[in-house]
C-alpha cells in the first residue's frame, strides 16, 4: 500500500502527467464539434466523448507505464526501493495497480464530464434514439479494461528493457495489432479462399497470441443505444482477467530475473 500511495503521489506531481490530465479540458470542445453534424448531435457527442476518453487513457497508459517502471530503473530509484524488505513481485504489482487506480480515477472523471457534455449537446437537437446511460457507462468500463491490459504489456516490455523507446513503441505496436487483429482474422478466415491452409493456421496462432482489443469496443452500442450481448461482455471480462494474469505473470518472472547494475 505504501508503494501504491507513493507511486500515485509521484505521478500526480509529474509534469508530463499533469499535461496529460489537463487533456480532460478538451471535453469542452465536444459540443462545438458535435454541432457541425447538424442532426446527429447526440450520437456524435457520445462517440467523441468515448474517443477522447480512449485517447487520454492511451496517452496516460503509454507515458504513465513507461514513466513508472522505466524511470525507476533509469534513475536508479530501484536501488533504494528494492533494497527494502519487499519482493520484486510486490514492487512490480504495486506499481502496476497504482497506475490502474489512476486510470480508473481518470475514467470516472472522463465519464462524469462526458455525461454533462452529452446531456448538454443532446439538448440542442432531439435525437430519435434514447440515451442509454448504462451502455455508455459500460463502454467507459470496457475502455478502462482495454487500457489496463495495454498497461500490462508496457510493464512487460519495461521489465526487460533498458531504453525508453522499447516499451513505448512495442506497446504501440501491440495496440495497433490488437485493434486490427479481429478484422484481419475475419478477412483471412471468411473472405479469401485462395489462401493456403498454412497461412490460415499462422493467422489463427497470431490471432490467439495477440490481444483482441476490438472485443472491448462498445462505442456503437453506446452511440446507437443497441441492446447489449451480456454473454459477449462476460466472455470479454473473463478474457481480460486471464490475459492480464498471463501478461503480468510473464512480466513478474522477467523482472525477478533482472539485474540492476
Amino acid at each position: 500500500m505504501v508503494l501504491i500511495r507513493l507511486t500515485i503521489k509521484h505521478l500526480i506531481f509529474d509534469r508530463i502527467f499533469l499535461v496529460l490530465t489537463s487533456l480532460v479540458l478538451l471535453f469542452a470542445s465536444v459540443p462545438v464539434f458535435s454541432y457541425f453534424s447538424m442532426r446527429q448531435l447526440q450520437e456524435i457527442s457520445i462517440t467523441m466523448s468515448l474517443t477522447l476518453n480512449s485517447f487520454i487513457l492511451l496517452l496516460m497508459t503509454l507515458f504513465g507505464g513507461t514513466l513508472v517502471i522505466w524511470r525507476d530503473i533509469e534513475r536508479k530509484y530501484t536501488f533504494t526501493v528494492l533494497s527494502y524488505p519487499i519482493t520484486r513481485t510486490s514492487y512490480y504489482l504495486s506499481k502496476f495497480f497504482a497506475l490502474v487506480l489512476v486510470l480508473f480515477f481518470i475514467s470516472i472523471v472522463n465519464f462524469a464530464v462526458s455525461a454533462i457534455v452529452i446531456k448538454i449537446t443532446a439538448s440542442f437537437y432531439k435525437s430519435s434514439l434514447p440515451i442509454v446511460w448504462f451502455n455508455i457507462f459500460l463502454a467507459f468500463v470496457m475502455e478502462f479494461l482495454k487500457y489496463s491490459l495495454l498497461l500490462g504489456f508496457i510493464f512487460l516490455f519495461a521489465s526487460f528493457s533498458t531504453s525508453f523507446f522499447t516499451p513505448v513503441f512495442s506497446s504501440i505496436a501491440v495496440f495497433i495489432a490488437g485493434n486490427a487483429s479481429q478484422g484481419i482474422y475475419d478477412y483471412i478466415m471468411k473472405g479469401s479462399s485462395e489462401l493456403s491452409h498454412l497461412t490460415k493456421l499462422a493467422a489463427k496462432i497470431v490471432y490467439y497470441i495477440l490481444p483482441n482489443f476490438s472485443s472491448f469496443d462498445l462505442v456503437a452500442y453506446a452511440t446507437y443505444a443497441l441492446p447489449l450481448h451480456y454473454k459477449s461482455i462476460e466472455f470479454t471480462s473473463i478474457y481480460f482477467f486471464l490475459y492480464l494474469g498471463i501478461v503480468l505473470s510473464l512480466g513478474v518472472a522477467v523482472f525477478n530475473k533482472r539485474d540492476f547494475s
Binding site: Y77, Y84, P85, S261
Partner: protein
C-alpha cells in the same frame, strides 16, 4: 553467526559482445559488531558484491547471507540499512517524507520523532520540508544515511557513503558510524578512500579482480601501517651511543628505529642505562600498504 556471509560469489556481465568477469570467487564474512572496510580499486567488484548482498544483482554461482538468511529472500533485508553509491531518491518527496517512507517500508510506524531527530543530527532540519530535487549532492548523501538509519537496523551497508561529502559531512558520518558501532551496529563500509577506512574500520578486506586478496584485523592494520618507532631518550650525551640520535631540546634526543629493530634498540639503551621518555610508532598510510599489496 556472522552478520554477513559471502561465499564464493561469481558473476560475469555481458557488455555488448564482451564478457566481463566482475566477481571471481568472492568470499568473506562480516562478524557482528565490526566496522568492516571493503577496500579496492575501481572495478574490483565492490559494488557488484554489495548489489548481490542486497539482491539487486543475482550471482551466477555462490551465495550471500544476511543474519543467516539467503540474500535472495526479501526477509534478509529486514534488519539492514542500505545506502547505495550516489543514491537517488524520488525527488518529489521532501526530506521528511523520504524518512517516513523509508520507515514505513520497514513496517516502522510513528517514525516522526525519530525522523526529526535524524534530520537534526545530519543538519537537515531546515530542509525537512524541501523536495529532494532541490537538495545538493551532500544533502542527498546525508538524507540517504538518515534513511538507512530510520528503522534502527542491526546492520548497515554503505557503498561509498562519503564520496562527494564536504569535510564537515565526513566528520558527521564518521562520528555517527563510530557511535552506532558502540551501540552494537555492524557496519559494512565500502570505499576506495583509504584514510576513511583507516580511521574507522576494525577490519579491512582488500579486493582486486573480483576476489579477496587480503583480510586484516585491527591489530594487523596497526602492524602494517607502522614502519618504525620514534624513541625519545634523556641524558644520552657522553654514553657513546651512536644510533643517529637527534637532539630535539636540551638533553632530549630522538632516535628512529625500524619496526624489526625495536627490541635490539631498547636492549642497547637499557645496557647504557639511558632513560627512555617516550616511544611512538611512525605510521605510514594504509594507502602505501594498499598499493604494495595490489602491486604484489
Amino acid at each position: 553467526m556472522e552478520a554477513i556471509k559471502v561465499d564464493n560469489l561469481k558473476k560475469t556481465f555481458k557488455l555488448k559482445l564482451k564478457q566481463v568477469k566482475a566477481l571471481d570467487g568472492m568470499t568473506f564474512n562480516v562478524n557482528r559488531g565490526e566496522i568492516f572496510g571493503f577496500l579496492g580499486p575501481n572495478g574490483a567488484g565492490k559494488s557488484t558484491t554489495i548489489k548481490i548482498i542486497t539482491d539487486l544483482v543475482r550471482a551466477d554461482s555462490g551465495s550471500a547471507y544476511i543474519n543467516g538468511i539467503p540474500s535472495t529472500n526479501h526477509k534478509a533485508r529486514a534488519d539492514i540499512g542500505f545506502m547505495p553509491e550516489n543514491p537517488q531518491y524520488y525527488d518529489t518527496l521532501t526530506g521528511l517524507d523520504m524518512l517516513l517512507f523509508s520507515a514505513s517500508m520497514f513496517g516502522y510506524k510513528d517514525a516522526k520523532t525519530q525522523a526529526y531527530k535524524l534530520l537534526e543530527e545530519f543538519g537537515l532540519e531546515d530542509s525537512a520540508k524541501v523536495p529532494l530535487r532541490k537538495y545538493s549532492k551532500g544533502m542527498i548523501q546525508r538524507i540517504g544515511f538518515a534513511a538507512a538509519l530510520i528503522h534502527k537496523p542491526d546492520i548497515l551497508i554503505l557503498d561509498e557513503p562519503m564520496s562527494g561529502l564536504d569535510p564537515i559531512g565526513r566528520m558527521i558520518f564518521k562520528k555517527k558510524m563510530k557511535e552506532l558501532n558502540r551501540q552494537g551496529v555492524t557496519i559494512f563500509f565500502s570505499s576506495h578512500i583509504i584514510p576513511d577506512i583507516e580511521d574507522i574500520c576494525s577490519r579491512v578486506v582488500i579486493v582486486k579482480d573480483g576476489k579477496v586478496v587480503k583480510d586484516f584485523n585491527e591489530v594487523e592494520i596497526k602492524y602494517l601501517t607502522t614502519s618504525g618507532f620514534e624513541i625519545v631518550v634523556k641524558n644520552a650525551s657522553g654514553t657513546g651511543l651512536d644510533m643517529g640520535e637527534k637532539e630535539i631540546s636540551k638533553n632530549l634526543y630522538r632516535i628512529d628505529c625500524d619496526k624489526g629493530n625495536l627490541i635490539n634498540t631498547l636492549e642497547l639503551l637499557k645496557d647504557k642505562r639511558i632513560e627512555i621518555i617516550d616511544i611512538e610508532p611512525i605510521k605510514k598510510d594504509l594507502e602505501d600498504v594498499f598499493i604494495e599489496i595490489l602491486n604484489g
